[in-house]
């Protein structure tokens, strides 16, 4: 059997594919940024001595880390739909990715926080800083430096996981590829090009992350 590649159709559909790639990038960046903010709060809550804070954070982390991302997307889309809460595919996938990103990053951040000596906190307090200022100016900047690489790994993972949007008919790169190949039956061609696009997106994100880190993180740690 001999497969004959036909690339023309793929090039004709390039605008749609690029749009899909853009949606993927947009989706994963949003899921990452919101996930980071929530994870910082969850990590602080989880370290709290009071169970009112630590318990909900623990439950979030345990569910996010121990159930398939596929289920989380289904829950957000079909599950909430059954309860009468109808999210668009974009919002459903975004929510699920935020949920799982926050869950994984919480543990990363918690490790980061704990690696910073408590004496940094006391030294900052002794200068008259409020607790919020201590976190904002002293603890968070150091924490982010230490967990920067695990955090970018999570970012890449989240980009790849966003391809599950295909399951709820979302128009991100995988969903778009699926739709286009089913119209033309040039399955292999479309998926090869989509794979290359994923590769470029993740490399682009990693490169940006490394440039940002060089700009942001000047001191030693």
């Amino acid at each position: 059997m001999e497969y004959v590649f036909h690339w023309n159709i793929v090039f004709q559909k390039m605008p749609q594919l690029l749009h899909g790639a853009f949606v993927t990038l947009h989706l994963s960046v949003s899921a990452m940024l919101i996930g980071i903010v929530i994870a910082v709060l969850l990590a602080i809550a989880k370290m709290s001595k009071s169970r009112i804070y630590s318990l909900p954070a623990t439950i979030w982390v345990e569910i996010a880390r121990n159930t398939p991302a596929l289920f989380q997307i289904y829950m957000a889309y079909f599950g909430l739909g059954a309860l009468g809460i109808h999210l668009s595919p974009y919002v459903a996938v975004l929510s699920a990715l935020i949920f799982v990103n926050a869950g994984y990053l919480t543990e990363t951040f918690r490790g980061g926080f704990q690696s910073i000596p408590e004496t940094q906190y006391n030294a900052s307090k002794s200068l008259g800083m409020s607790s919020i200022q201590v976190y904002r100016y002293i603890i968070l900047p150091q924490m982010f430096r230490r967990i920067y690489h695990p955090m970018t790994n999570q970012f890449v993972w989240s980009i790849l996981m966003s391809s599950l949007g295909i399951l709820v008919g979302m128009n991100e790169l995988s969903g778009e590829t699926q739709r286009l190949q089913s119209l033309s039956f040039r399955t292999l061609e479309f998926f090869i090009v989509a794979a290359i696009m994923y590769f470029i997106i993740t490399k682009f994100v990693l490169l940006s992350a490394s440039l940002v880190s060089k700009k942001l993180f000047k001191g030693d740690i």
Partner: protein, 241 residues
């Protein structure tokens, strides 16, 4: 003036301060000496309100540190503290280390904060290190930075917790010189220290701390040269050989 009256402090079951009384007048230098684990650091943490107390009062310039309504963040601007660990902020340059708190706590303009920070850094001999990151400096330099950083807040009092204990012996001198300079300038200081010779030289009073109370308090002449209590004598003979 700092008034410490009948202070008790415990960590869960462990009673660390068992009725401490001490007055520190403006301009006085008081050195606190005593064995490790006797509660010296804890006392300093209670004075600036980082640790809570169970009983007694600590009054700083008429402000009750541990009273319910006290704004302790504000109060700490009056009480500089330097620790045994260097505690430089590793992600900030030397100049940023010293100008951050004046800028964000006192809300000074950036230029003004930097002016003050530079002046304090000059005073401790770090004028050539403004743009250096602290982790690239020696322990002695980092400790002088910590002193300048605290002084940049223009505190009324300075609390020093064994600031030379983590230093290599050859670096102790430069930090003690800085403390001497401060005491000459009239700063009110409480120094927890193991440097008995230094304590004798700069202090108006020495407090010997033992198992959570001040066993003996007096001039260096009294406490170091003529200790009355047996525990003081034992401690001194151990540290002076």
């Amino acid at each position: 003036m700092i008034k410490i009256q009948g202070v008790y402090k415990s960590f869960d079951e462990l009673e660390v301060l068992k009725g401490v009384d001490l007055d520190v007048k403006k301009g006085e230098v008081i050195s606190v000496i005593g064995g490790s684990g006797s509660g010296k650091s804890t006392l300093l943490y209670c004075i600036n309100g980082i640790e809570k107390i169970q009983q007694g009062n600590i009054i700083v310039d008429e402000i009750d540190v541990h009273a319910k309504g006290t704004n302790r963040d504000n109060l700490r601007q009056r009480l500089g503290m330097v620790f045994q660990q260097f505690n430089s902020f590793p992600h900030l340059t030397v100049l940023e280390n010293a100008s951050l708190a004046p800028r964000i706590v006192k809300k000074l303009k950036k230029k003004e904060a930097i002016e003050i920070a530079k002046e304090e850094l000059n005073n401790v001999g770090l004028s050539d290190k403004f743009d250096e990151y602290p982790t690239r400096m020696s322990g002695g330099q980092q400790q002088r930075l910590a002193i300048a950083r605290a002084l940049a807040m223009k505190p009324e009092y300075m609390l020093f917790d064994e600031v030379t204990s983590a230093l290599d012996p050859e670096l102790v001198g430069e930090v003690l010189d800085t403390l001497r300079m401060l005491s000459d300038a009239g700063m009110t200081m409480i120094c927890v220290t193991h440097e008995i010779a230094f304590a004798r030289e700069v202090s108006d009073k020495i407090a010997f701390f033992h198992q959570g109370i001040i066993e003996e308090l007096g001039t260096p002449e009294q406490v170091i040269s003529n200790p009355q209590k047996e525990t003081t004598q034992k401690f001194l003979s151990k540290v002076l050989h």
